[in-house]
Chain length 308, copies 2
């Protein structure tokens, strides 16, 4: 029986490239594995797949009765809807430990590093499996994406060393240039419906019993949002109502200025000031130095919810 | 700030020896760590500590505001009572993934092997830290205990290889003999109050919303229970009421005959037949070949509860 290797809903490059890279590794050690995905491939990820000659993994939403290896999350809200009817055989992740559980003993490779693909590289090393050139390429790009080309506070020495090693295997001479090409693709927002932009990198969290959605758009210059910010604000208000969410936040992240503007719709907007120590005006706030949802946005908010 | 390294409530040898071994490793890699414990040391564990010249780790029940590295469990029922107010920085475990969560990214070394100390040995290898002779000794004993000297179905090739390597480091020539010495200590049940025996290796589980306690006593010959079985039965009935539990099961495991007699008190004893396919008589049932609570007892019961 094959296992499926799958990342989170609304997959990012780490989820897609990680599923491909981990499934390849598992097949090399005689554990048959098929990479799958839970949603559409983003333009950034498509750029990476095209660059190194991969097809997107098969779209597969139901896993009841199957063996599943989970990539890049441990939150049930981000997992397949029927994950409780699947057998979770493993997890590779770099986030806080969420509410996913398993019915049998499993393997978990979770490390506080910048990207799941950095941990997958450790797994290749552990099993002494050689990484093919094209797989090294997509793994490297996933790490450059998750760490915002090493600028994110989530980036660790392990991530940097891993990118350097993968770039050598992939034969990529200037990986920072490739990273900037990737972020240029990511910054193209014109002609895209507001909902598609909001959902491009959107995650739901359970915060002290409240459903909280947080989206993030990372671009090279926030000016790209000048004409569409009102649309984005209207759309997250809709999204909040549709999903019975307590709050929806959208982070507009400027990777060059290294900070994020947060757009806010919430049943209790005071939580934002409590979490970040700055007062929103007109349902917006600039969070200087904030690049990482995982490390800088979620934990203070979780604390604020816990105290509310 | 030091982290505390702590195993589960009602600690077994894996929890105590694992806390000592992992804290030592963390200190070697400049992450200050203090081993602690959540309860009394069992006679078997005391035998191991004495054999290799260790004091028991400090008894510490409260961890609010502290950094904690969790050993040998991911179930909240088995964790410190105030774990939600602590920061979980890591987990090493070999059970199914439970309901423990963390507020920040962490490291999890979870593998489907027979003992947490087998994984701790992998961590020593990963960090290239030499294992001192005495620490190798207690790690080896913990693995022999958890795998019932390799007889348990939870035992893997990794556990056997690990014991062989640790025996060489510890300078123990006949580790199977040492294992039998350990189980002789464990088999001494006379002059011990029934409650102490029931609680010696007792774990609570959340099964589909019901609190289910499962104790286990592993001995060399079930005849040691002949005179006290009625007392044990009376005591688990009391324990069920005191804790508002749905069920309490006590496994009397014969490691030589390789099977377990299960003593049963339950709001729905039919679940036992559904789980194991054998019908209890007089609130008891012999489960042939069953040595492992984790692998052979908990999963079928969890399935039966899920279907109930």
């Amino acid at each position: 029986m094959s296992m499926y290797v799958v990342g989170h809903k609304i997959p990012d490059s780490d989820s897609i490239c990680g599923a491909i890279a981990l499934a390849y590794l598992k097949n090399q050690i005689d554990e048959p594995a098929i990479p799958t995905r839970l949603g559409e491939v983003s333009p950034e990820t498509q750029f990476i797949l095209d660059k190194f000659g991969f097809e997107a993994p098969e779209l597969k939403l139901s896993y009841a009765g199957e063996d599943v290896y989970i990539v890049d999350h441990t939150e049930k809200t981000q997992a397949p809807d029927d994950i409780d009817q699947a057998r979770v055989v493993g997890v590779v992740d770099h986030h806080k430990l969420g509410d996913l559980t398993s019915s049998t003993p499993l393997e978990c490779w979770i490390r506080p590093v910048g990207c799941s693909n950095t941990i997958i590289k450790m797994m290749y090393d552990f099993y002494s499996v050689e990484i093919p050139k094209d797989i090294a390429g997509i793994m490297m790009c996933a790490i450059l994406s998750d760490t915002v080309i090493f600028k994110s506070p989530t980036c660790t020495t392990a991530d940097i060393k891993c990118v350097e090693a993968l770039a050598e295997i992939a034969g990529v001479e200037d990986f920072k240039e490739l990273g900037m090409d990737m972020f240029h693709v990511k910054s193209a927002v014109e002609d895209t419906p507001a909902r598609d932009l909001v959902m491009r990198d959107f995650k739901d969290f359970n915060m002290n019993g409240n459903l909280v959605g947080i989206g993030q758009l990372e671009v090279i210059d926030l000016a790209v949002f000048d004409d569409i910010k009102a649309d984005l604000e209207a759309d997250i208000a809709k999204l909040k109502t549709e999903g019975n969410r307590h709050s929806v936040f959208l982070l507009l992240t400027d990777i060059m200025k290294e900070g994020s503007e947060m757009l806010i719709v919430s049943d209790d907007a005071n939580l934002v000031e409590q979490a970040y120590g700055v007062k929103p005006e007109n349902d917006k706030v600039w969070l200087d130095g904030v690049l990482s949802r995982k490390k800088q946005v979620v934990p203070p908010l979780q604390d604020a919810f816990a105290k509310a």
